[in-house]
Protein backbone atom coordinates (compact mmCIF):
# COMPACT_ATOMS: atom_id res chain seq x y z
CA UNK A 1 0.00 0.00 0.00
CA UNK A 2 1.18 3.52 -0.75
CA UNK A 3 2.57 5.36 2.25
CA UNK A 4 2.40 9.02 3.13
CA UNK A 5 5.63 10.62 4.24
CA UNK A 6 6.42 14.09 5.49
CA UNK A 7 9.79 15.78 5.27
CA UNK A 8 10.91 18.58 7.52
CA UNK A 9 13.62 20.12 5.42
CA UNK A 10 15.59 22.27 7.82
CA UNK A 11 18.46 24.65 7.26
CA UNK A 12 20.68 22.68 9.64
CA UNK A 13 18.93 19.33 10.09
CA UNK A 14 16.19 17.44 8.30
CA UNK A 15 13.73 14.82 9.44
CA UNK A 16 11.42 12.35 7.67
CA UNK A 17 8.26 10.80 9.11
CA UNK A 18 5.78 8.27 7.77
CA UNK A 19 2.07 8.07 8.59
CA UNK A 20 1.28 4.91 10.51
CA UNK A 21 -2.43 4.81 11.10
CA UNK A 22 -3.32 8.13 12.63
CA UNK A 23 0.18 9.02 13.77
CA UNK A 24 3.38 10.22 12.20
CA UNK A 25 6.41 8.10 12.99
CA UNK A 26 9.90 9.47 12.49
CA UNK A 27 12.12 7.31 10.30
CA UNK A 28 15.69 6.93 11.51
CA UNK A 29 18.53 7.19 9.01
CA UNK A 30 21.33 4.70 8.34
CA UNK A 31 23.25 5.94 11.37
CA UNK A 32 20.23 5.39 13.61
CA UNK A 33 19.57 9.09 14.12
CA UNK A 34 16.18 10.73 13.85
CA UNK A 35 17.78 13.87 12.49
CA UNK A 36 19.98 14.00 9.42
CA UNK A 37 22.36 16.93 9.01
CA UNK A 38 21.31 19.02 6.02
CA UNK A 39 24.77 18.77 4.48
CA UNK A 40 25.72 17.36 1.09
CA UNK A 41 29.26 16.92 -0.15
CA UNK A 42 30.89 15.96 -3.41
CA UNK A 43 34.27 14.39 -2.63
CA UNK A 44 37.33 14.16 -4.85
CA UNK A 45 36.36 10.65 -5.96
CA UNK A 46 33.10 11.98 -7.33
CA UNK A 47 31.04 10.41 -4.55
CA UNK A 48 28.05 12.21 -3.09
CA UNK A 49 27.98 12.18 0.72
CA UNK A 50 24.85 13.08 2.64
CA UNK A 51 24.24 13.97 6.28
CA UNK A 52 26.63 13.49 9.20
CA UNK A 53 29.28 11.85 7.04
CA UNK A 54 29.30 14.93 4.78
CA UNK A 55 29.48 17.20 7.82
CA UNK A 56 32.47 15.33 9.27
CA UNK A 57 34.62 15.86 6.21
CA UNK A 58 33.46 19.44 5.65
CA UNK A 59 36.62 21.04 6.95
CA UNK A 60 38.78 19.02 4.55
CA UNK A 61 36.55 19.81 1.60
CA UNK A 62 35.19 23.34 2.12
CA UNK A 63 34.43 24.08 -1.54
CA UNK A 64 32.72 20.73 -2.09
CA UNK A 65 30.52 20.70 1.01
CA UNK A 66 27.20 22.48 0.77
CA UNK A 67 25.37 23.33 3.99
CA UNK A 68 22.56 25.78 4.79
CA UNK A 69 21.37 25.41 1.20
CA UNK A 70 17.84 26.21 2.30
CA UNK A 71 18.98 29.72 3.10
CA UNK A 72 19.45 30.28 -0.64
CA UNK A 73 16.35 28.53 -1.80
CA UNK A 74 13.91 30.64 -3.75
CA UNK A 75 16.03 33.75 -3.38
CA UNK A 76 17.62 35.82 -6.08
CA UNK A 77 21.36 36.33 -6.27
CA UNK A 78 21.11 40.01 -5.34
CA UNK A 79 19.03 39.24 -2.24
CA UNK A 80 21.53 36.96 -0.52
CA UNK A 81 24.89 38.60 -0.98
CA UNK A 82 25.75 38.85 2.70
CA UNK A 83 24.93 35.17 3.28
CA UNK A 84 27.03 34.16 0.29
CA UNK A 85 30.07 35.85 1.79
CA UNK A 86 29.77 33.66 4.88
CA UNK A 87 29.96 30.29 3.12
CA UNK A 88 33.16 28.69 1.81
CA UNK A 89 31.57 27.19 -1.30
CA UNK A 90 31.19 29.09 -4.55
CA UNK A 91 27.89 30.74 -5.41
CA UNK A 92 27.11 32.22 -8.80
CA UNK A 93 24.27 34.03 -10.51
CA UNK A 94 22.23 31.93 -12.86
CA UNK A 95 20.91 33.45 -16.09
CA UNK A 96 17.46 33.79 -14.58
CA UNK A 97 18.83 35.61 -11.51
CA UNK A 98 18.63 32.61 -9.17
CA UNK A 99 21.51 31.42 -7.04
CA UNK A 100 23.55 28.43 -8.14
CA UNK A 101 26.41 26.58 -6.48
CA UNK A 102 29.55 25.61 -8.35
CA UNK A 103 30.75 22.30 -6.93
CA UNK A 104 33.70 20.51 -8.53
CA UNK A 105 32.89 22.11 -11.87
CA UNK A 106 29.23 21.16 -11.62
CA UNK A 107 26.30 23.59 -11.43
CA UNK A 108 23.93 22.70 -8.63
CA UNK A 109 20.80 24.56 -7.56
CA UNK A 110 19.65 24.79 -3.91
CA UNK A 111 16.67 22.44 -4.48
CA UNK A 112 19.00 19.96 -6.17
CA UNK A 113 21.17 19.91 -3.06
CA UNK A 114 18.12 19.04 -1.00
CA UNK A 115 17.26 16.07 -3.18
CA UNK A 116 20.86 14.84 -3.19
CA UNK A 117 19.87 11.78 -1.19
CA UNK A 118 18.83 10.38 -4.57
CA UNK A 119 22.27 10.90 -5.97
CA UNK A 120 24.16 9.32 -3.13
CA UNK A 121 25.78 6.07 -4.19
CA UNK A 122 24.78 2.84 -2.40
CA UNK A 123 28.24 2.76 -0.82
CA UNK A 124 27.43 5.88 1.16
CA UNK A 125 23.81 5.19 1.95
CA UNK A 126 24.62 1.83 3.52
CA UNK A 127 27.43 3.20 5.67
Amino acid sequence: MAKIIGIDLGTTNSCVAVMEGKEAKVIVNEEGDRLTASVVAWDDQGEVLVGTIAKRQGITNPEGTIYSAKRFMGRRFEEAETEMKRVPYECFRRDNGDIGFKVRGKDVSPPEVSMARHWASPVNTSA
Binding site: E31, D44, R56, I59, T60
Partner: protein, 177 residues
Protein backbone atom coordinates in the same frame (compact mmCIF):
# COMPACT_ATOMS: atom_id res chain seq x y z
CA UNK B 1 -36.93 -17.68 -0.08
CA UNK B 2 -40.44 -18.52 1.00
CA UNK B 3 -41.83 -17.05 -2.20
CA UNK B 4 -39.63 -19.21 -4.39
CA UNK B 5 -41.97 -22.18 -4.87
CA UNK B 6 -44.78 -19.77 -5.73
CA UNK B 7 -42.76 -17.87 -8.27
CA UNK B 8 -41.53 -21.09 -9.82
CA UNK B 9 -45.07 -22.30 -10.09
CA UNK B 10 -46.06 -19.00 -11.68
CA UNK B 11 -43.20 -19.34 -14.10
CA UNK B 12 -44.37 -22.71 -15.23
CA UNK B 13 -47.88 -21.43 -15.83
CA UNK B 14 -46.98 -18.26 -17.59
CA UNK B 15 -43.87 -16.52 -18.89
CA UNK B 16 -45.05 -13.03 -18.07
CA UNK B 17 -45.30 -13.50 -14.28
CA UNK B 18 -41.78 -14.95 -14.26
CA UNK B 19 -40.31 -11.75 -15.55
CA UNK B 20 -42.30 -9.71 -13.10
CA UNK B 21 -42.14 -11.96 -10.03
CA UNK B 22 -38.74 -13.61 -9.92
CA UNK B 23 -36.67 -10.46 -9.44
CA UNK B 24 -39.05 -9.20 -6.77
CA UNK B 25 -38.92 -12.49 -4.94
CA UNK B 26 -35.18 -13.03 -5.10
CA UNK B 27 -33.89 -9.50 -4.60
CA UNK B 28 -35.09 -9.03 -1.02
CA UNK B 29 -33.63 -12.39 -0.08
CA UNK B 30 -30.32 -11.57 -1.72
CA UNK B 31 -30.31 -8.09 -0.23
CA UNK B 32 -30.86 -9.63 3.17
CA UNK B 33 -27.87 -11.94 2.70
CA UNK B 34 -25.71 -9.09 1.44
CA UNK B 35 -26.75 -6.85 4.31
CA UNK B 36 -25.86 -9.54 6.81
CA UNK B 37 -22.56 -10.04 5.07
CA UNK B 38 -21.85 -6.30 5.05
CA UNK B 39 -22.66 -6.11 8.75
CA UNK B 40 -20.28 -8.97 9.44
CA UNK B 41 -17.54 -7.24 7.46
CA UNK B 42 -18.16 -3.97 9.24
CA UNK B 43 -17.98 -5.71 12.59
CA UNK B 44 -14.76 -7.38 11.59
CA UNK B 45 -13.14 -4.21 10.31
CA UNK B 46 -14.04 -2.39 13.53
CA UNK B 47 -12.55 -5.19 15.58
CA UNK B 48 -9.41 -5.19 13.46
CA UNK B 49 -9.03 -1.42 13.79
CA UNK B 50 -9.35 -1.71 17.55
CA UNK B 51 -6.88 -4.55 17.61
CA UNK B 52 -4.42 -2.61 15.47
CA UNK B 53 -4.59 0.27 17.90
CA UNK B 54 -3.93 -2.13 20.77
CA UNK B 55 -0.99 -3.71 19.01
CA UNK B 56 0.44 -0.30 18.23
CA UNK B 57 0.11 0.79 21.87
CA UNK B 58 1.63 -2.41 23.15
CA UNK B 59 4.54 -2.13 20.73
CA UNK B 60 5.19 1.44 21.87
CA UNK B 61 5.11 0.37 25.51
CA UNK B 62 7.40 -2.58 24.89
CA UNK B 63 9.83 -0.44 22.96
CA UNK B 64 9.96 2.06 25.77
CA UNK B 65 10.61 -0.61 28.35
CA UNK B 66 13.24 -2.20 26.12
CA UNK B 67 15.04 1.12 25.97
CA UNK B 68 14.85 1.55 29.70
CA UNK B 69 16.02 -1.96 30.52
CA UNK B 70 18.89 -1.80 28.08
CA UNK B 71 20.07 1.34 29.82
CA UNK B 72 19.52 -0.18 33.27
CA UNK B 73 21.71 -3.17 32.54
CA UNK B 74 24.39 -1.01 31.06
CA UNK B 75 24.29 1.38 34.00
CA UNK B 76 24.38 -1.57 36.39
CA UNK B 77 27.54 -2.85 34.81
CA UNK B 78 29.12 0.58 35.10
CA UNK B 79 28.58 0.71 38.86
CA UNK B 80 31.63 -1.42 39.75
CA UNK B 81 33.65 1.11 37.81
CA UNK B 82 32.37 3.88 40.05
CA UNK B 83 33.10 1.75 43.12
CA UNK B 84 36.56 1.01 41.90
CA UNK B 85 37.31 4.66 41.17
CA UNK B 86 36.17 5.61 44.67
CA UNK B 87 38.42 2.95 46.17
CA UNK B 88 41.36 4.07 44.07
CA UNK B 89 40.91 7.68 45.11
CA UNK B 90 40.57 6.63 48.77
CA UNK B 91 43.98 4.98 48.74
CA UNK B 92 46.12 7.80 47.44
CA UNK B 93 49.42 5.97 47.27
CA UNK B 94 48.06 3.32 44.90
CA UNK B 95 46.26 5.69 42.56
CA UNK B 96 48.11 4.84 39.34
CA UNK B 97 47.63 1.10 39.80
CA UNK B 98 44.04 1.52 40.93
CA UNK B 99 43.23 3.74 38.00
CA UNK B 100 44.70 1.23 35.62
CA UNK B 101 42.53 -1.51 37.03
CA UNK B 102 39.50 0.74 36.87
CA UNK B 103 40.17 1.55 33.27
CA UNK B 104 40.45 -2.15 32.49
CA UNK B 105 37.09 -2.79 34.17
CA UNK B 106 35.49 -0.01 32.18
CA UNK B 107 36.97 -1.25 28.92
CA UNK B 108 35.74 -4.76 29.63
CA UNK B 109 32.22 -3.46 30.17
CA UNK B 110 32.39 -1.54 26.91
CA UNK B 111 33.62 -4.57 24.99
CA UNK B 112 30.88 -6.73 26.53
CA UNK B 113 28.35 -4.29 25.15
CA UNK B 114 29.99 -4.38 21.73
CA UNK B 115 31.42 -0.90 22.13
CA UNK B 116 34.80 -0.83 20.49
CA UNK B 117 37.34 1.91 20.02
CA UNK B 118 38.05 3.36 16.60
CA UNK B 119 41.77 4.05 16.72
CA UNK B 120 43.20 5.43 13.53
CA UNK B 121 46.94 5.99 13.38
CA UNK B 122 48.82 8.83 11.77
CA UNK B 123 49.12 8.27 8.05
CA UNK B 124 45.79 6.45 7.66
CA UNK B 125 43.53 7.80 4.93
CA UNK B 126 40.86 10.14 6.28
CA UNK B 127 37.49 8.36 6.18
CA UNK B 128 34.47 10.54 7.03
CA UNK B 129 32.58 7.31 7.78
CA UNK B 130 34.77 6.84 10.88
CA UNK B 131 36.61 10.09 11.44
CA UNK B 132 35.68 13.71 11.94
CA UNK B 133 38.04 16.38 10.64
CA UNK B 134 38.70 18.96 13.37
CA UNK B 135 41.15 20.95 11.28
CA UNK B 136 43.46 20.68 8.33
CA UNK B 137 47.15 21.45 8.41
CA UNK B 138 49.54 21.89 5.53
CA UNK B 139 52.12 19.14 5.57
CA UNK B 140 55.17 18.42 3.43
CA UNK B 141 55.70 14.86 4.70
CA UNK B 142 52.12 13.58 4.78
CA UNK B 143 50.00 13.01 1.68
CA UNK B 144 46.87 15.19 1.50
CA UNK B 145 43.72 13.72 3.08
CA UNK B 146 45.78 11.53 5.40
CA UNK B 147 45.52 11.73 9.16
CA UNK B 148 48.21 13.98 10.62
CA UNK B 149 47.19 13.69 14.23
CA UNK B 150 44.57 11.82 16.22
CA UNK B 151 43.00 14.20 18.74
CA UNK B 152 40.51 11.79 20.29
CA UNK B 153 39.70 8.19 19.49
CA UNK B 154 36.25 7.20 18.38
CA UNK B 155 33.88 4.43 19.43
CA UNK B 156 31.66 2.05 17.58
CA UNK B 157 28.66 0.15 18.94
CA UNK B 158 27.99 -2.99 16.90
CA UNK B 159 28.36 -1.74 13.35
CA UNK B 160 27.17 1.76 14.15
CA UNK B 161 29.43 4.69 14.86
CA UNK B 162 28.90 5.96 18.41
CA UNK B 163 31.42 8.75 18.16
CA UNK B 164 33.79 9.51 15.30
CA UNK B 165 37.52 9.67 15.97
CA UNK B 166 38.50 13.33 15.94
CA UNK B 167 41.51 13.96 13.76
CA UNK B 168 43.60 16.64 12.11
CA UNK B 169 43.95 16.04 8.39
CA UNK B 170 46.94 16.87 6.20
CA UNK B 171 46.53 19.09 3.20
CA UNK B 172 48.94 20.05 0.46
CA UNK B 173 51.30 22.90 1.27
CA UNK B 174 49.73 26.28 0.58
CA UNK B 175 50.27 27.37 -2.98
CA UNK B 176 50.76 23.90 -4.38
CA UNK B 177 47.10 22.91 -3.95
Amino acid sequence: MTKDPESKAAAQENIVPEEADTPEAEVPAEAETLRAEAMAHRERSLRLAAEMENVRRRAARELESAHRFALERFAGELLPVVDSLELALGAAETVPEGLEMTLKLLRDVLVRHHIEAVTPVEGDAFDPGLHEAMATQPSAEMAPDCILQVVQKGYRIHDRLLRPARVIVARALDGSA
